[in-house]
Structure formats: C-alpha cells, structure tokens
C-alpha cells in the first residue's frame, strides 16, 4: 500500500443549505495517532459520520488502504477495517457487555439465518472463537468483572470502555474515537490517553480521534488537524498548532478551553 492509510480530499458535506464541512483535506498514516480538533460545531463529528457513511458527501473522496470508500455502504466500513466509537454511547442497552462485544465481531462471523437456525458445522466454533476474542479484549480493558452485566446498568465511564472494546474486537486497522474523554475528569482523561497509546502498541493500529478537550490531544497525538466552521484552519504537530494564532483565535471566547501543558 502506497501513501497514507486514510486519505480524505476536498470533503464537503452540506445539510439543506448549510455547509457543515467545506473542502477538508485530512490523512492518517499507518501507526499514527491523529487528532481532529476544533470548537463546538466545527464539523468534526460530521467528518466522522461521513467516514462511517452515515452522511453523503457533496464533494470529495475518502480512500482507505488505497480503496475508494466514498460511496461504500455504512455496514461495509467495518469490514474494510475501520471501527469507531460514538460521542453519545451507542451500545445495545439490553445486552450484556460480552454480547455487545460479540456484536462488534458481527462482520467476521460467517453465514446467515439458515446456517444459524440449523446450527450447521462451524457455527459453534465461530461462536467460541468470537467469545475468546471478546474475553481477550475484556481482560485487556479490565472489564471482566462486568462481563455478564447488562450494559444499561453500568456507569457512563464503563459504557464508554465497553464501546471501545467493541471497536477493538474486530481487529481494525483504523480506530475512530469520537470525543472519548467527554464526561471524564482530568485524571480519567490522562488514563484514557495512556490507554489509547497502549492500544496502538498492543493492537498495531492507527487512531483518528475527534476531541474538544485540548489537553487530552496535546500529549497524545502525533499530528493535529484543526477545524473551524467546517474548514481546516491549521495542521501540524501539537506544539505547532498550540502556538498558531489562528487556532487560538478560533478557541477564544470558549470558557471551558484550557490550552495548558499536557
């Protein structure tokens, strides 16, 4: 594969008359942790939702591993190797932690209703293999104690972890994290950043993270893209971006932003 793992060129998304994302270029190289930051409403999650194919772009292309996925269907994305988490946790609330992770492996399990209904050869083995993989991830994330708990009974912080586990279970090449530190305090935030680093090493994947919290991304990301009003206003290493006057101005007036040393 030549070139970046994920390459987005000229991405433009509009809703009705409102242009939410305007000509954005973005790339993630293999092994990188890239951050997509910007003030609220900058269009960051919209970019994610377009990569996930929940939204249709007006213009632009998205290439993953040299394959054009701009018009792919939303359920094919995970099969290409891109898994994501959601800002508002999207778990299957009636299922247990384990079952949610097993859902994450849906794409790698073979066969359909007839095969399952008749319990043909291989179904049991598939299920066992999937459960073993899920247990491995649960163990890594320290969730074994909640393996059989119905996720709606878990606190928000743990639900986010379960969702992370669900994304990892399918051996993705690229992990999309949507505001992973939302609702986390400073200490949890640091722990989360550390976890992402460990995940990159352990599972040999790349990460694109949308974040609103500057301090979270500063220490974690290799490179940053900054969006404001749907446009890319800056890109570079965290230290480049932090001192960029355009970026500072975009964030000015946002009371919660602390551009602090990580």
């Amino acid at each position: 594969m030549s070139g970046p793992l994920l390459e987005i060129k000229g991405l433009t998304i509009s809703f009705g008359g409102l242009v939410a994302v305007d000509g954005v270029d973005l790339s993630v190289n293999t092994g990188e942790i890239v951050g997509l930051i910007g003030p609220n409403g900058a269009g960051k999650t919209t970019v994610f939702n377009c990569i996930s194919r929940f939204y249709e772009p007006l213009f632009g292309t998205i290439r993953f591993k040299d394959r054009d996925i701009t018009r792919a269907r939303s359920h094919e994305i995970i099969r290409f190797g891109i898994a994501r988490t959601f800002q508002n946790v999207e778990l299957c609330r009636s299922m247990t932690t384990l079952e949610n992770l097993l859902v994450g492996e849906h794409a790698v399990m073979r066969g359909g209703a007839i095969r399952d209904g008749l319990r043909l050869r291989g179904v049991g083995a598939d299920e066992a293999r999937a459960t073993a993989r899920a247990d491995e991830i649960l163990d890594f994330l320290g969730l074994m104690g909640h393996r059989d708990s119905v996720v709606s009974t878990l606190p928000f912080r743990l639900q986010k972890l379960v969702e992370l586990g669900r994304a990892l279970v399918s051996h993705p090449g690229l992990l999309l994290l949507d505001e992973p530190s939302a609702g986390a305090d400073h200490r949890e935030s640091e722990g989360l950043a550390d976890l992402v680093r460990r995940i990159r090493e352990r599972f040999d994947l790349s990460v694109l993270v949308v974040e609103h919290d500057m301090s979270f991304v500063m220490g974690l990301c290799d490179r940053l893209y900054v969006l404001d009003f749907g446009r890319r206003i800056a890109t570079g290493t965290p230290s480049d971006v932090r001192s960029n006057p355009v970026v500072i101005e975009a964030y000015l007036g946002e009371p919660e932003v602390e551009v602090s040393d990580a």
Binding site: S52, F54, S74, E90, M95, V103, G104, G117, V123, T153
Partner: protein
C-alpha cells in the same frame, strides 16, 4: 453432526426434553380424565400449537428485531390459502403444499420487509395493517378461483409419505402429534437463531440501528430476513390451520386475528421464544375457556371485555409478560439458594431490558 449437537446441547436441552415428554403424555392422560372429550381438547391444543408457531415467528420480528406488524393474519391467510389450493385444486401432496405455502408466505414477507426499511413505529404499523386488511379482500375479489367469501372446503387429510407406507393424520389425536412435531422443530430453529450471531444482529437493530450499521449489520438484509422469517412461520402455521379445520374462508383472517397474535407475544413476554409459545397457548386456552363460562348475559360480550381487560392489565402490571415473571422468580430463587442478597445489577435487570433470549 448429530452426536456433537446432542453433546453440546446438554443442560439447555432439558426444557426441550421435558416439552417432548409433555407432548407425548398429554393424549393418554386426557383419555383417562372423566368428563373430558379428548378429541375436542386435542383439537384446541393443536390450534394453540399452530398459533404458537405464528407467535414465535412474530416474536422474533417484534420482540427481537424491534419492528412491528399489525397484519400477520395476512401471512397466515396466504399460507392457508396456498396450501388449501395446492392440495384441493392441484392435488399436491400435503407436505409439499405446506412447504410451498410457507415459502410463498416467506417470500412475500421479504417483499413487505422492503418498505419497512423506510418506515418505523406507527407508520410501519399502518402499512402492515393495510397489508393484513388487503389479503382477505384480494381473496374475495378473485373469488372465481379462491372460493371467494364462501371459502374452500373439503380439504384432503394431512398425510406424510414414508417410503412404502403413508401416515395419514385422520383423528384429532393424529393431528395433535403433527402440530406438536412441527412446533418442536420450528421452536428449535427459532432458539438457534435467537442465540446466534443472527439473533444478536436482530437485537442490535432493535437497540441501536446506528451501532448495528457501524458494526457491519446490513440493515436491508437483516430486516427483510426478520420479516421473511416471521412470514414463513405464519405461512406454515396457516397451512396447518387450513388442514386442521378442513376448510377456510376469508372471515378467518381478520384484523382481530392479527391483534390476537400481538396479544400472545405481549402476554408471553417480548424477546422470548418460550414466552411466545406460552402466550399463544394461554390465550387460546383463555379464549375458549371464557366463552364457556356460565354467565347470565351473553358469553360473547364477557369474552371481549375480559380479553380487553387482560390486555390492559398485562401491559400495566406485567410489561415483561409471563417470561418476565418466570425470569424474576428464577432469579430470586437462585439468589436465595446462593444465600446472596440480589446484586445491584440483577435488581436493575429485573426492570431493565428484555435480554437477548
């Protein structure tokens, strides 16, 4: 494959074993009880078993996949009419007719699943309602070959060719065994689906379509499959129904029947195969028992009023249905046996979620 299957079933097979034993034991027991006409009771039970087939399929669609259908009497009718016409007019053997009828119903269910991709909630409810209303009307419209409003009668007996000889299901007891056998097979199939990755995909669609899509669940494929599956079950059940009654007419397939099916799965507990089964049997029993109660005024009125009351009371006080009650009882019993206080997440679970099984 069979040995491996039997070995892995293990403890999970216990309820099936019990069910099988119960099925075999009922007719001789009935014959011994005085004052009971075993033939008629078996006819009623067969009816309940046939409805249970519909309920199980519908339960997968509504309980597991989170869709809605107010028109499943339509699939029931398609199965009934297809089988009736194939055996009566074309002389096809019973088994072939049932399978074709079920497949036809399933195929139409698949087609009905397509608009369902765009619709949800009340809009889907109305669309399926329309389907259910349209089918009997179409039957009457094409009365020249469907028997119209007078229906089809004198259907041939159900029979199963086995090599040199043929089993003919002549009596109520014979038909009872046929219905029970079909139900058992279809229940196992349904349980397998529900505990598999297909079943998880269904529940994922119900709980979060977004998550399902992001995790690789093709909504088109799985929603249409859920519809097709529930229609297949209803179609097979309809075929069995036609031959149980030896005749059918459009009035057998009204909106009230679709409502009955809904009531069965709500009563039994959404999201549970066992629940659908027990809900169907219970409702069939209730419907017939109520019409027999010695009351001063019309039986008809009381039965309707009581049925309505049952519906409301079930939703108000037993939203998880009979299966939910069983689950609570089992969990409380398990907790007591272990001398634990119920865990926090268990208590919450009793009120939250309906589980995958």
């Amino acid at each position: 494959m069979t040995m491996h299957w039997l070995r892995t079933r293990g403890r999970a097979a216990a309820p099936y074993g019990l069910g099988l034993a119960a099925v075999l034991v009922i007719p001789p027991v009935l014959g011994v009880i005085p004052g009971v006409a075993p033939g008629y009771v078996l006819y009623l039970v067969s009816l309940g078993l046939i409805y249970a087939v519909v309920a199980i399929g519908l339960g997968i669609l509504i309980g597991h996949t989170g869709q809605i259908s107010l028109g499943h009497a339509g699939f029931f009718a398609i199965g009934a009419y297809a089988s009736a016409l194939l055996t009566l007019r074309m002389g096809l053997p019973f088994v072939v007719a049932v399978l074709v009828a079920g497949s036809l119903s399933g195929a139409i269910g698949f087609l009905l699943g397509l608009p369902a991709l765009r619709l949800s909630g009340p809009y889907l409810a109305v669309a399926t309602l329309g389907f259910g209303l349209a089918i009997p009307q179409l039957v009457v419209w094409q009365g020249s070959w469907t028997g119209g409003s007078s229906g089809l009668h004198g259907l041939p007996l159900a029979s199963l060719p086995l090599g040199a000889f043929t089993i003919v299901f002549r009596t109520d007891q014979d038909y009872y065994y046929l219905a029970a056998a079909v139900l058992i097979v279809l229940t196992i199939f349904a349980r397998n689906i529900v505990t598999s990755h297909t079943g998880r995909a269904f529940v994922a669609i119900r709980d979060s379509e977004i998550a399902a899509r992001a995790m690789g669940v093709d909504l088109v494929r799985y929603k249409t499959t859920a519809f097709a599956l529930s229609a297949l079950y209803a179609g097979i059940a309809g075929a069995l129904y036609a031959h149980l009654l030896h005749g059918i007419s459009p009035e057998d397939f009204t909106v009230l029947l679709s409502v009955d099916f809904l009531t069965m799965i709500v009563l039994g507990g959404l999201g549970s195969v066992g629940g659908a089964l027990s809900g169907a049997l219970l409702l069939t029993f209730l419907q017939n028992a109520l019409t027999r109660l010695p009351v001063v005024h019309d039986f008809k009125n009381l039965y309707i009023v009581v049925l309505g009351a049952i519906l409301i009371l079930t939703i108000a006080f037993l939203p998880r249905g009979l299966a939910g009650v069983m689950r609570s009882v089992r969990q409380r019993w398990a907790a007591r046996v272990r001398h634990d206080a119920p865990r926090v997440d268990q208590i919450v679970e009793l009120g939250e979620g309906s589980g995958v099984r």
